[in-house]
């Protein structure tokens, strides 16, 4: 019963979301187990009811995930619907309040990166030995091969142009931390994070993120969501802006042959959604701090 308020909040969020149409179609299909393209048909059923029934039919987040992904995988625009599935799952997660284990999401929605000043000071002295900074754990052959393999997929993506833009308009290290937290499944920035960062070139992280998100809106949303959870959120927000700006021209080429009904979500809509979302999240999860972690 206490979930009713939460469900109606979530339903409202979904209705107001830039991608609402697709979200509702996917949710409806997961519930009905058949695809309905006609929104007027879908809108005949209150979203709150559908959501409640979904939670009843799939008592664990993992089961819901399987169900939604299965539907998404049958669609033509599979990649885009998978992204939408993740958003929905992220929002519905709170309905499963007492789950002990958080499901592993592909997108780092729960990217609560640890970056407290104290942690950095402590971890830095341990993570950055004085003796030989040049011998960073970098296997030059592997890196070269990696970058080559990734870049072949998007021949028009100019890695150097993107790097230049990011460096011109933001702090390279902040950009790396932001990208790393977005890309790394572990989603906690601690000593091992610092060490890993020393073996991941900025270019590599940028390519990985570019390939991960189907469109610019998603990239922007995720970058800002991650930035908000880091220490010095303003600095990381600046890095987020720089990355979005740098990648914008390449997303235009990427999406040239995608379907026409591109959702035209304004960033205003997204930040509003985020405020609602993060408020909800704050109530149900603890803000991590170094002490809690250890």
């Amino acid at each position: 019963m206490e979930n009713l308020l939460l469900i109606s909040e979530i339903a409202q969020e979904l209705e107001q979301h830039g991608n609402a149409a697709r979200m509702k179609k996917l949710i409806f299909a997961t519930w009905r187990k058949c695809w309905e393209n006609d929104l007027s048909t879908i809108n005949k059923f209150p979203l709150t009811n559908i959501l409640q029934e979904l939670v009843n039919s799939y008592p664990t987040p993992e089961q819901l995930r399987i169900a939604i992904i299965n539907i998404a995988d049958t669609l033509n625009k599979k990649e885009e619907y998978r992204v939408i599935a993740e958003i929905i799952l992220g929002k519905l997660r709170n309905l499963y309040g007492n789950q002990s284990e958080e499901p592993m999401t592909q997108m780092v929605y729960q990217a609560v990166a640890i970056f407290s000043e104290d942690a950095a000071k402590e971890t830095i002295s341990e993570a950055m030995p004085n003796d030989n900074p040049v011998s960073t754990p970098v296997n030059s052959n592997t890196l070269g091969a990696n970058s080559g393999a990734n870049l072949e997929i998007d021949k028009d993506y100019d890695a150097f142009a993107v790097r230049l833009a990011v460096m011109k308009y933001s702090n390279p290290l902040r950009a790396k931390i932001l990208l790393f937290c977005l890309v790394d499944e572990q989603s906690s920035f601690n000593q091992s994070g610092w060490l890993k960062l020393r073996s991941r070139p900025l270019d590599e992280l940028l390519v990985e993120v570019f390939q991960k998100f189907a469109n610019l809106e998603q990239l922007e949303y995720q970058l800002h969501a991650t930035a908000r959870n880091l220490q010095e959120p303003d600095e990381h927000a600046q890095a987020a802006e720089a990355i979005v700006k740098a990648m914008k021209p390449f997303y235009k080429d990427k999406n040239k042959d995608k379907i026409r009904d591109q959702s035209t979500s304004s960033s205003a809509t997204y930040s509003e959604q985020d405020r609602i979302f993060s408020n909800t999240k704050e109530e149900s999860t603890n803000q991590f701090s170094v002490n809690n972690r250890n």
Binding site: M128, N130, V134, T136, S140, L164, L173, R174
Partner: protein, 331 residues
């Protein structure tokens, strides 16, 4: 004076701190914009994420200091000692680093856009992924001699840089952006330039002996009189390159693209041109003694007076080509 004291004084308005000893102190994220720390002792100091834009650190001792993510845009670091310093992701845009000692420094993913690096000593430094667009690395004999010996320049962005006469022997420049770079008279012998982009680069009289240019892009580059003895150019793209009088003895050009290349009077003795594409290439008076030309494509190429009597031409395509006796080859 300790860190707190300095910050207190700085916040109260003091900016000049010549020669102070702040070694080993912690200034993580400190706001020290425009501070004057000339000749200060900052060795082992923690300046991670510190704000030091326009700071004057001329001749300061920053040995083994931690400057990761620090903002040093437009800072003065002339003659500073940054030996062994950790500069991962540092911002040094427009900084003055003339004559700075940056030996063994870690400049991984650093921003060195428009930095003045004349006379800077970067030997053994790690510049992997760094951006050096617009950086000044000119060799000015008698005054400035930038040193990049043994530096790691993998994936570096040096587009448009002026590296005239630079000593880059054996340097790792693989995957780097060297578009429009001026490398006239530079020493790149034994350098690793695999996968590098040298489109439109100036490489006249450049020493590339034994260099690795596998898969590199040299489109429209200028390579007149360049030395490429035993160089590895496998799969390289040299479309439109201008390289008359180039020395390519024993060079490996297997599978390379040499469309429209000018190789007049070039020495290709004992080189491999296996499966190379030499469509429309010009090889007038070229020397091809014992050159391996198997399955190479010479469609419409010009081989007037070229020496190919001892070359291996099995499977080579000469359709429309001007042969050494100046007749046009017709099947």
């Amino acid at each position: 004076m300790d860190a707190k004291e300095l910050i207190k004084r700085y916040e109260a308005g003091q900016t000049k701190f010549h020669g102070v000893n702040l070694s080993g102190m912690n200034f993580f994220g400190a706001d020290l914009i425009g501070i004057v720390l000339q000749k200060a002792d900052l060795h082992n100091t923690n300046l991670i994420f510190a704000y030091l834009s326009r700071a004057d650190l001329g001749q300061a001792n920053l040995t083994a200091s931690k400057l990761c993510g620090a903002n040093l845009n437009q800072a003065k670091l002339g003659g500073a000692n940054l030996h062994d310093a950790d500069l991962h992701g540092v911002m040094l845009q427009g900084a003055d680093l003339r004559g700075a000692d940056m030996t063994l420094a870690d400049l991984f993913d650093a921003n060195l856009i428009d930095a003045d690096l004349r006379g800077a000593d970067l030997s053994g430094a790690n510049l992997m992924g760094a951006c050096l667009r617009g950086a000044n690395l000119r060799e000015e004999k008698r005054i400035y001699c930038a040193n990049l010996r043994g530096a790691n320049l993998q994936m570096v962005d040096m587009q448009g840089a002026n590296l005239t006469g630079a000593d880059l022997s054996k340097v790792n420049l693989s995957g780097s952006n060297l578009r429009d770079v001026m490398l006239r008279d530079a020493d790149l012998s034994g350098a690793d330039l695999s996968g590098a982009d040298l489109t439109n680069a100036f490489l006249t009289d450049t020493n590339l002996n034994g260099a690795n240019l596998q898969g590199a892009k040299l489109i429209n580059s200028k390579l007149e009189r360049s030395k490429l003895l035993e160089a590895n150019l496998r799969g390289a793209d040299l479309s439109g390159a201008i390289m008359p009088d180039a020395k390519l003895n024993k060079a490996n050009l297997t599978g390379s693209i040499l469309v429209g290349v000018v190789l007049n009077r070039a020495d290709l003795s004992r080189a491999s041109l296996r499966e190379a594409d030499l469509t429309e290439a010009r090889l007038i008076d070229a020397y091809l003694a014992r050159t391996n030309m198997m399955n190479a494509n010479f469609t419409n190429a010009n081989l007037a007076r070229a020496e190919i009597s001892t070359a291996n031409v099995v499977g080579a395509n000469f359709q429309g080509a001007t042969m050494p006796d100046e007749s046009i080859y017709q099947r």
